[in-house]
Symmetry: C2
């Protein structure tokens, strides 16, 4: 079972508030492991391996490394790089093997979402095929929360907390005048509505959107306008949360659709979905509108991170190393939840990389209401434990103190 | 000097994260004052007086009132209502006098920005003219920080902190890939660049915009594109902060201008300035872009409020009541800063309402760099003390616990 050698850790895909907590879980645990001779960080994910751009993490100041827990985005750099099918083109795989051999890499940890687990899976299978002994483990990450087989994903809880808190604050602001307003908040999530649904947490706590639209169901513009008009007439204001991925019944994204109402809608790429929907509401209903896109803020808002999410992200990285050191390979660390004495607890479980790669998990349809404009209580019960806890954020003059890594390249 | 009677407090103009802290300063202090017989909150500012919609603040739960310190936006409701010149139309003033007499109102506190101080001033002068004994005090508020005669305004420090922190986080995110990006962040401030300048705090702490454009100087699109291109070529990425109020030399707002480059720019109202500038950069330089508008988030982001700002906002409300009770009228509470033993301290000072009304304070031109694309150290030194301190935010299940007022209308 004992396998001595270096490890490589890489980050891939869109960053989150806590992906660095996972990488710190890997690095911190690997640096202490007697069988792991060297801990290397890949610059920009697998591209850093291909380009032989590897940082020697052992040369970092441990105090700076510890700050990774509270530093958003991918500290090692990320990439969006689709690996070829090795049966079609083996070039990249041969290069990766060459680098693994050069540094005697026997442990490979890859931290990312769906596409990254595909990369991880392909590398794992290739190394098996060529008989190179390397333990490959996926460490999950995605604000989208759409990885298969895990109760939830590191990164989601913090983004959900950012979204819910921001909605609660905007709710206070968007109804302050004696004249009404329709406020539309655009939330990330191209194919799954986990993030947009988190806006409903704000509503559950008394200050959130009246309407929430997820991409799991078809969007109907006429029904949307009728919903907004009804709420506005009833309450004098209307707040709406929409997933960026809402689409019509024919599958076309609302954000990309040209409607006949005005040629202005063709310029949706300028301002995004929220601005476009706000404009449509303004033209159809003649009311004051405001479109707000949470944009990158929701995925890097570490100042609103969930302590639960940070600790679970760290735990996922740590579990990847511990399991690999114990002889396990070709898995992704996933989560399962339990309730002990009514209290939420989260445990790791191992999933086959093959099963995880490229499979998306969506919001269950029976968690979405009948009118397709909101979520039901099971959704709230699901997400609430994930946003809990306030981390003690390192600050310098009341501004965030993020990790400053030396990033010493291996010779 | 003793004057017994009720007081009215109202909020007006765009809300902030801490305007309720000021109103709490008024209410809390007035409720304890033996000469103030009743504390009334005007619904939607002066409109609540005109419409006889007044809440009896004495009937609120003191614990809920205390939560106002941490509740963003205007809890009593706000308005944007321009009072007529009383020499032209006395209707509103007569009505206000009628209401003041009806409830024996002898103290009037108005919490707002430039326009609100104009309202406050006009009411003060009218009451003097008709010989109705009522002490009128303005309580400053504006994230724009553009009130005349005061070192700074309550609300600014918290918005500045939100902007600087968000820029630091986005900075981490916007350079995570091995491919570069130009990221443009749009910040509030139609005529004054105090808010946009605060983005430079992020830069001073190692993770902020490369370029900052304020409305105090003319914007030149060609120079802007040259600036962005130069930085992008040098550093592989470029982050830009722009005030929504940047304008060309002829005074026209960049956000409203139609450029000849593409008819798409005519739709700037859809997505705002950031999206429009991002689009222009994309077309001219052919690089990946992202436009982010901080929108309402920056003015209601109480979860990032500055403790200094909260306490000063409270102090301003308290000082208004204490000074009025001591016989002073026709003033706005302002701030002056001092440094004792190198430490920033803030004291209140009283300004004539006449002087404050409708006068805007802009960023000094010698705090803006020679290239008109950044701010200099005096700006940083000015703003840094204002963002200090982390409030202990009341939370419920890790979400904000805002004040829930009963809002009992007077009979």
């Amino acid at each position: 079972m004992e396998l001595k050698g270096a490890c490589i850790v890489g980050q891939s895909g869109g960053p989150t508030s806590v992906i660095n907590a996972s990488v710190y879980g890997v690095i911190h645990t690997a640096l202490k492991n007697p069988n792991i001779t060297r801990v290397l960080g890949a610059e920009h994910g697998i591209k850093g391996v291909l380009n032989d751009r590897l940082f020697d993490m052992g040369q970092e100041d441990p105090n700076e490394l510890a700050l990774l827990k509270y530093t958003p985005s991918s500290a090692l750099g990320s990439c969006r790089y689709k690996m070829a099918d090795p049966d079609v083109d083996e070039t990249d795989y041969k290069r990766i093997l060459e680098i693994f051999q050069k540094y005697n890499v026997r442990y490979f940890f890859y931290n990312g979402g769906n596409d990254s687990m595909d990369t991880c899976n392909k590398i794992s299978k290739y190394m098996q095929r060529v008989g190179y002994d390397c333990r490959v483990m996926g460490v999950p990450k995605t604000i989208d929360n759409d990885l298969y087989g895990t109760d939830h994903c590191p990164g989601y809880g913090s983004a959900a907390k950012y979204i819910a808190t921001s909605c609660m604050e905007v709710y206070q602001d968007a109804r302050v005048y004696d004249t009404g307003m329709v406020c539309i908040i655009e939330i990330m999530g191209r194919h799954a509505g986990w993030l947009a649904g988190a806006a409903a947490l704000a509503t559950a706590y008394g200050a959130g959107p009246d309407l929430v639209y997820l991409p799991e169901v078809d969007f109907d513009m006429d029904q949307f306008l009728a919903d907004v008009e009804r709420i506005y007439k009833e309450r004098g204001n209307c707040m709406v949360a929409v997933s960026e991925g809402i689409h019509y019944a024919d599958g076309s994204f609302v954000s990309e659709a040209k409607t006949s109402a005005t040629d202005g809608f063709g310029h949706a790429q300028l301002g995004g979905l929220a601005a476009m929907l706000a404009q449509i509401v303004k033209e159809k209903l003649g009311v004051k509108v405001r479109g707000i896109e949470l944009s990158l803020l929701q995925r890097c808002g570490a100042h609103l991170a969930s302590e639960t999410d940070i600790e679970e992200a760290f735990m996922a990285g740590k579990a990847a190393v511990e399991n690999a050191a114990a002889g396990i390979s070709d898995k992704m660390v996933g989560f399962e939840r339990a309730y002990e004495g009514g209290h939420y607890i989260c445990r790791t479980r191992l999933l086959n990389l093959t099963d995880v790669a490229n499979t998306e998990k969506k919001v269950p349809l029976d968690w979405i209401n009948e009118n397709h404009n909101g979520v039901k209580q099971p959704f709230i019960d699901y997400v609430l434990p994930l946003i809990q806890g306030e981390p003690c954020l390192p600050k310098e003059d009341s501004l965030p103190r993020f990790a400053r890594l030396k990033k010493v390249l291996t010779k």
